[in-house]
């Protein structure tokens, strides 16, 4: 039965247009990729190569020598797809392009297999049969490299796959959760402000309520009125919100590199959802003030009294609300600081090599690859080029891995180890330390074929007594390797990943780039000169270059954006919370006008009064800190687990956050408290 599924999987590769909804502009989906050397291209690609002509039947040359016939033109995948392409070639063609070992050995995991399950198939049930399947068909491979198969839904790949080598760099669902929670919190802060300010300012409406009740309104009618008002206000806020989105989207898209548009809201589900939010928010924010306001007794209200015991309970609720709002803001401040600390840590951490001023020129065709020595030589002649080297991969690129075996192990005991193919000059150019043995060297004739370097992690992995001179079988007999030196654990990947074992060896057919260490002066001119040198040798391929430090920066860009967004949200949350605090402070000082007057008459100075008023809020901000900081610690610690190399969250972060919160709170209430303290007590005591 299982064999059937695998057949389906294979057919999927051949007939992928039946699985993916790809829209054909030209050509026949059913047989577009059935022949070897047929290729389907996107509309953009067709436009680039052929302009407005119909490209069907025309040929494209792959790497000088392999003509592919165009059998179809399709629309590009939408941006949210988990992978994108310019060309899709038929599976059959690869058999002529790649060595047979790529197809014959189960351990060669370079294919992505998509399986279309029948509607009544349970994925977990199918997954359970994989082990038995492997045991039956590929016992050797399963044992050799600890291979496992598992299924994941296509729609989960972008956000939920944490696998290393997906087709495109993925995002993480945790960011969606974090921003959803932040959004809910900010909405909650705003709702609380509404509740707080509505009840605090209830005095201004008490007369209206008294009159309405006197002329016959009953309580449910008033409750309906107040909730209705809240929902109307929320709806107006929704309209303003949509307007804000419209205004800010260009900036936001630019900032995030996404192409979001307001049109995502114009479907029935989203609109219903938004209206639902309006009702929930309006009701949630309106219910308490409605109950509170409608409970006024007309006689008391109209005679200017208010029941004070009740007022005390409400005051407690208001303070609780402000505390909660501040707790949210404090958690956001602490998180922002921690994110920025981690980013700074990643940017400044010693990577074990020098990433500055390294220009990378891509060997983007076989002609350039064949004459890489000549190119290196010519580049080196330039006055601004200090060193040159060639390599298959440059940090932080994802490395390939080879199956390697120590000579003392049985012939089926392989380990899957990362490999970098480099030339003699690589280690020196990158300024990587040799901590044992020696570097790869032209002085030893055997180095070209045999010498390998281990990093410390590889040494530890194999646990050999004497690592220098240890001999390995590389790629199942493809090559013999002898360890001649050990390099330090340099970060050949980003700091997300732990440094894994890696070996470096000479393997010119894999070199894909030339590295140039250049002088810091006149970098632009240097790049132009290098391009000229390239063009003198390679006439039919463009000059492609980049800088190594920029590659590293790019790896952390999504984190940087994340940090910035959290920062903006923190500022927004703090601002809204401060509005609430300001309102509460003005209400509270107004309530205490008489007390302040009495205290001043009895000799209290302005500063004592300011202190008195501030002390009360200080207490609540302290409580907010106690709630928020453990939560921030927990959440950010979880986030930091994404990084193999991360900061420790220090106590100083929390101390600093608490101080910032206190300062913000004090500044916010200072206006009210200083105003109250400076007021002439005669005014407040004149007559009751």
């Amino acid at each position: 039965m299982l064999a059937n599924y695998i057949k389906i999987a294979l057919r999927t590769i051949l007939r992928q247009f039946e699985i993916f909804t790809i829209q054909f502009v030209h050509g026949d989906p059913s047989n577009a990729l059935s022949e070897p050397f047929s290729v389907v291209i996107t509309e953009e690609t067709a436009q680039r190569y052929f302009g407005d002509e119909n490209p069907i039947g025309k040929t494209l040359l792959y790497d000088y020598q392999h003509p592919f016939t165009i059998t179809g033109v399709v629309r590009s995948f939408p941006p949210q797809s988990h992978f994108h392409f310019d060309f899709i070639a038929s599976m059959e063609s690869t058999k002529s392009l790649f060595p047979p070992v790529m197809f014959e050995h189960w351990g060669n995991i370079w294919l992505y297999t998509y399986v279309l399950l029948s509607p009544d198939t349970e994925a977990p049930a199918l997954e359970q049969q994989f082990a038995g399947f492997m045991e039956q068909h590929m016992p050797e491979a399963a044992r050799m490299i600890n291979l496992q198969f598992h299924l994941q839904p296509v729609t989960d790949i972008h956000l939920r796959s944490h696998l290393d080598i997906e087709l495109e760099a993925n995002s993480n669902i945790i960011y969606i959760y974090i921003f959803t929670i932040i959004a809910i919190f900010i909405l909650a802060i705003a709702c609380f402000n509404f509740i707080n300010l509505t009840t605090a300012r209830s005095a201004s409406r008490s007369k209206e309520i008294g009159i309405r009740k006197t002329i016959g309104a009953n309580r449910p009618q008033l409750i309906r009125q107040f909730i209705g008002e809240a929902i109307v206000i929320t709806f107006i806020a929704l309209l303003l919100g949509i307007l804000l989105i419209e205004l800010m989207l260009p900036w936001f898209n630019n900032f995030t590199g996404k192409t979001l548009s307001l049109s995502s809201f114009t479907n029935g589900v989203a609109l219903t959802g938004l209206l639902g939010v309006v009702l929930i928010v309006g009701f949630g924010a309106g219910i308490y003030p409605a109950l509170f306001l409608s409970s006024y007794r007309p006689v008391e209200v109209l005679s200017g009294k208010s029941s004070s015991g009740n007022a005390r309970n409400h005051a407690l609720l208001r303070k609780g609300i402000v505390t909660f709002q501040f707790a949210i803001s404090i958690a956001l401040i602490a998180s922002t600081i921690i994110i920025y600390n981690q980013l700074t840590f990643m940017r400044t951490k010693d990577l074990g090599f020098d990433k500055d001023r390294i220009l990378i020129v891509k060997l983007n065709n076989s002609g350039a690859r064949q004459q890489f020595e000549v190119l290196k030589e010519s580049f080196l002649n330039h006055i601004s080029v200090l060193k040159t080297a060639a390599a298959s991969h440059v940090p932080p690129e994802q490395l390939s891995s080879w199956r390697i075996r120590h000579e003392s192990e049985p012939s089926d005991r392989f380990e899957l180890i990362n490999v970098m193919s480099v030339d003699y000059d690589f280690i020196e150019l990158m300024d990587i330390d040799i901590i044992e043995g020696r570097n790869l060297s032209r002085q030893f004739a055997v180095d070209e074929h045999e010498a390998i370097l281990f990093n410390e992690a590889a040494v530890k992995h194999f646990g050999l007594d004497r690592v220098i001179g240890a001999r390995f079988d590389l790629f199942q007999g493809l090559k013999e390797g002898t360890v001649v030196g050990v390099v330090n654990n340099f970060h050949y990947e980003s700091l997300h990943s732990e440094i894994m074992p890696v070996f470096l060896h000479i393997w010119p057919q894999w070199y894909s780039q030339i590295l140039l260490k250049i002088r810091p002066e006149n970098i632009q001119q240097t790049v132009l000169d290098i391009q000229e040198i390239w063009q003198a040798h390679i006439t039919d391929w463009p000059f492609e270059y980049r800088f190594l430090d920029e590659d590293f920066d790019r790896v952390y860009r999504s984190e940087e954006r994340f940090g910035q967004l959290v920062l903006y949200f923190s500022i927004l949350a703090i601002f809204i919370a401060c509005l609430g605090l300001f309102g509460l402070a003005s209400y509270s000082t107004q309530q205490r006008t008489k007390e302040i007057g009495v205290r001043k008459v009895l000799g209290a100075s302005v500063s004592t009064i300011v202190m008195l008023l501030s002390k009360e809020f200080t207490k609540w901000v302290l409580v907010a800190n106690l709630i928020a900081l453990p939560v921030a610690y927990y959440v950010m610690n979880r986030w930091l687990q994404n990084y193999a190399y991360r900061i420790e969250i220090g106590f100083d972060v929390f101390l600093f956050t608490a101080a910032v919160a206190f300062i913000i709170a004090l500044v916010t209430i200072s206006y009210q408290s200083i105003k109250a303290a400076l007021a002439n007590p005669v005014e407040s005591l004149r007559y009751e």
Partner: protein, 230 residues
């Protein structure tokens, strides 16, 4: 003790200028008990506020304990005020959130007395005012008469030379009013100078002298009895 010369107070809003006090000349000797009477809006409370160093006059001179204070800053007035003047208000003006003990303690707090001394003096005054058993109650748990006793206790706790009472009996029934007047008389007999604003003739008659104020002027003075020797 105090003397005003041509004391003036103007209230200016954007449109109107109201004269609250106009050329008030008043002298009060140490140990005297003076009642100020007059209809609403005649300037009684304004005068009391200036005499009590809560407000500055717009013109004229005010000598208090040999200081010319009419040009004093808020801070200078506060310093002079807190050790020399006690206040009793019509509406008591006790702080609702503080207990009886804490209300009475307040002036000593601002004068910087130590905790033990505060406790000792507050206990003594509470005994004297016969409200010691209520020391841990909040003002709203007390009757009006009891609240005014607390207010008087607070006014005398710092042993001021002068007590200013703004309609101290205004919110009390006659029995409690009588009681408060007796308290004030007692304090006066022990040497404290008292200036009291009142509407009620019967309470004004406790004083040595009644000053009648009308439209910001002193219109007449009645001497009822001579001051007992201090």
């Amino acid at each position: 003790m105090l003397r005003t010369i041509n004391l003036k107070k103007l209230y200016t809003t954007e449109e109107v200028e109201t004269t609250a006090l106009n050329n008030v000349n008043l002298e009060v000797q140490e140990g005297e008990f003076v009642a100020i009477m007059g209809p609403s809006g005649c300037g009684k409370s304004t005068l009391l506020n200036i005499l009590g160093l809560l407000d500055n006059p717009s013109g004229g001179e005010y000598n208090f304990l040999d200081y010319e204070v009419s040009k004093h800053t808020e801070r200078q007035r506060a310093n002079l005020r807190k050790s020399n003047i006690g206040f009793v208000f019509q509406s008591f003006n006790l702080i609702d959130e503080l207990t009886v003990f804490e209300n009475v303690e307040l002036p000593l707090l601002y004068l910087g007395y130590s905790g033990s001394e505060r406790k000792q003096r507050v206990e003594k005054v509470l005994e004297q005012m016969e409200i010691a058993h209520r020391r841990n109650h909040f003002p709203q748990q007390l009757s009006g008469g009891q609240q005014q006793r607390v207010a008087v206790a607070r006014a005398i706790i710092a042993k001021p030379k002068l007590i200013l009472a703004d309609e101290p009996t205004g919110n009390l029934d006659s029995a409690h009013g009588e009681e408060v007047m007796k308290l004030l008389t007692e304090l006066n007999e022990n040497g404290t100078t008292i200036i009291m604003v009142t509407h009620a003739q019967m309470y004004a008659e406790y004083a040595h002298r009644i000053v009648h104020l009308f439209d910001g002027h002193i219109v007449s003075e009645n001497i009822l009895k001579t001051q007992t020797a201090v």
